[in-house]
Symmetry: C4
Subunit: 260 residues, 4 copies
């Protein structure tokens, strides 16, 4: 009785687009990077995913105009041009699945969409939390579906070998796994972050640098800085909201006094 | 293998009825308001929803006559008249889903029923818990599916802009979201409440005032007071019952010694 | 992908059999009563239910012969005779569902079986835990699907009116609810018990007394005493086993080190 | 919407193969034994199971080459020869189901594969944790589907009667139960282990000794020792990784900040 559906508002014509996923995760690195790309590359929205595996709630529009907003994942696209080597599909969203199995269901829907547009490569983004603040420039760690893509991204200083990473949890990992089963290649780029601060502009910038070298767009550092500061405020608010909320069935029921 | 079914006992003829939902939630505001309306407007029951997403138990009839009662959500209707501007469908019940995904499944069933009777607008009711007692008259906060309905309800002193609300959890939120996808408009009215007392007559009255202005019925304050006091007793009993009960699979199994 | 299946080993011909359910629950009252009836009335097994809603484990045969035993619910029957007014279907088992929704799925299967044999009445058994030891003879509390059956069982000193019971959790409650929807009547008999001792022979005896008066068999008090003592030993062992076991997905996974 | 799929890379011709299961569990006894057999008997992989009941993550290849690895269960085979009395199917893997119901779903898939190759007997492996270190040689406890197989394995000093084991949780138990329903016989061999050390070479050796006597291969004790030491290092790392990971929906969501 669960459901996960894709709604398309447009059907753009794309040529072998690379899909870049940036859903909420450790340090919001992935989401921050993709939202920056959407803004900077003036990407257009063409579809969204709703799922009963998302939390059972609606958000209030952050601009506080009184409008409700559904939790969703959103597909954007941008076509290649003078400073962009590839057509891109950009995936952002408010949430990942809150159910173990939902990750697989939603992941397959996302790969279906990628596949239907001729995507042969998926780049998933995330953070790797070290648990300690550091003065050094954060590294970008990587994981790949095959040796060829690993060699390709090692050129951009992504660290694949002997990394401290043991596993990739959630969409960034599962999407690579499903992509590989569908004859796509893929790479996960993870910005090193302390995990202590709610967001991490330096780590975000590191991941954007890799993508910039790979796809060819130029980075607007000023805008990036401004976005980072705004994002930080929003994340801090969200952290407050989350406490006592996404803590599973039991608490939700108790809080709301569902049993009348 | 889950199931959610609607059972109709009548098929009333209704003209563009507005649906008002009042399931158990924060401070029982929504349920208290709708149960008051059912009583005051002499609404008639025409259907009910049973679901395996409700807790696996039966209630003893509160009048203690020895009869069991299923947990259910119930549909009532009342037709427009001299002091009522619209046909109404009123939704009350004993419980909401205790499963994350169940909210979506049951929500879709409710909207299907609304849709089949020609409903174009849904009003969901709830409470917003401030965590502190206050001397001031409680506000009624709102959230809407579009700007038109927001403007309409701002006339009745509902606060939409810059409200402290970040999200609406459960039926009151999910119903608006599903309604919007089915081309209905909708508004959620949330009575400000401390969340400390088990029920909150002042907050309930605030929400009833808004509905009274909107739909046109007159309020019987005396009855409302009496109901509030009775409700308070029932809720206090329920709170006791809930402890150690709705605390998920594990505790239930342990309590009952299911593994023989 | 869940599954719940009934396996029949016989297809006995029964005439309007009354079904009596005694699955593990509070104080093992229900299970003790039904297992006593199976033994005393020399009931024969004719079917069993397996379900993926039962815990994912097999038991070792309690006689420790090295054989495994599946967790199951079992159907027995006995035909009416000189000291038995009705054909009976007796339902016992090792466990109830450990999943909220599983109660509804398994409950429907049980009622299907009852229905297919022409059952018009179901008696479910359980315990009501007072939380305190008492010198007085334990009461038998009741809950019924309609006033007629309540009146009928009030003759046997079952307490229906103004009982302290607010809800009936699990199979004993859900079966009545499903039975009622299938035009059967039903009653739940609950032996008052402290809930402190692992089993409660006095409370068990109280429930057997009611059934004895209702169906007409004679009670073998000596055997009942002996069984109670044996059962007590088994239950104490089971209590040890349960600790740290049925505590949900997480603990099970951790204990077993599932992630290799 | 859940899914569990078997992918075959080969279709070997096998004659009444015995299936031996060694998935992660208490003390990693089962997995260590089967991985030793795969290595020592030069077994070839012919299939794998993926399932949405496994945790939603990918592993990094333990050789840290930057490649991702899906969580899976794997089928190997080896044909009988001078020192092996039977064709064997060996089942190893990274994980068991992390969902109660998943055990039944995956278990049925495994038995389907066994059945399709003409398997009539399944040997499942596990550990039995005593909670205390002991100087004595660890016993091998057993549980069987019928008396014949119990007698057969008693010849190899497996302890079936009056064992301290009350239940067998997870794949090792459920597979026997499903096998029996499909007219296979089966035995579970459980190496006695303290449960205090992360792995237990002595206990592993005990189980290998039984299998060696039963199937006829010779044990390479030197290799076994070397493997045990390597395995110990890996397990210690995994234990670290597991903390804070397999702790259910809630923690995973919170850790990752899924709600953006």
């Amino acid at each position: 009785m669960s459901s996960t559906a894709v709604y398309f508002s447009k059907k753009p014509k794309l040529t072998s687009p690379v899909m870049i996923e940036g859903l909420p995760g450790i340090g919001y690195i992935g989401k921050n990077v993709v939202d920056y790309l959407i803004d900077e590359l003036k990407a257009e929205k063409f579809g969204e995913i709703l799922s009963s595996y998302f939390p059972p709630l609606v958000l209030m529009n952050p601009e506080k105009n009184g409008l409700i907003e559904e939790l969703k994942n959103e597909f954007y696209y941008v076509k290649k041009g003078k400073n962009l080597k590839n057509d891109l599909i950009l995936l952002t969203g408010d949430t990942q699945s809150i159910d173990m199995q939902g990750h697989f269901v939603i992941g397959r829907k996302i790969i279906e969409v990628a596949h239907s547009y001729g995507t042969k490569r998926i780049i998933t983004l995330g953070g790797f939390s070290t648990g300690a603040l550091s003065e050094k420039d954060p590294k970008v760690f990587g994981a790949g579906t095959d040796e060829k893509i690993i060699k390709e991204f090692e050129k951009y200083n992504v660290v694949f070998k002997k990394s401290p990473i043991g596993q990739i949890i959630g969409a960034s990992g599962i999407l690579l796994s499903i992509a590989k089963r569908h004859n796509m290649d893929g790479v996960c780029l993870m910005g090193e972050t302390s995990g202590i601060l709610s967001s991490d502009p330096k780590s975000t910038e590191g991941v954007i640098n890799v993508l910039s070298s790979y796809i060819g767009f130029k980075i607007n550092l000023e805008k990036l800085d401004k976005r980072a500061k705004e994002m930080d405020k929003i994340i801090k608010k969200l952290e407050k909201v989350k406490k006592g909320m996404v803590s599973g069935k039991t608490q939700t029921s108790e809080q709301l006094g569902y049993i009348g």
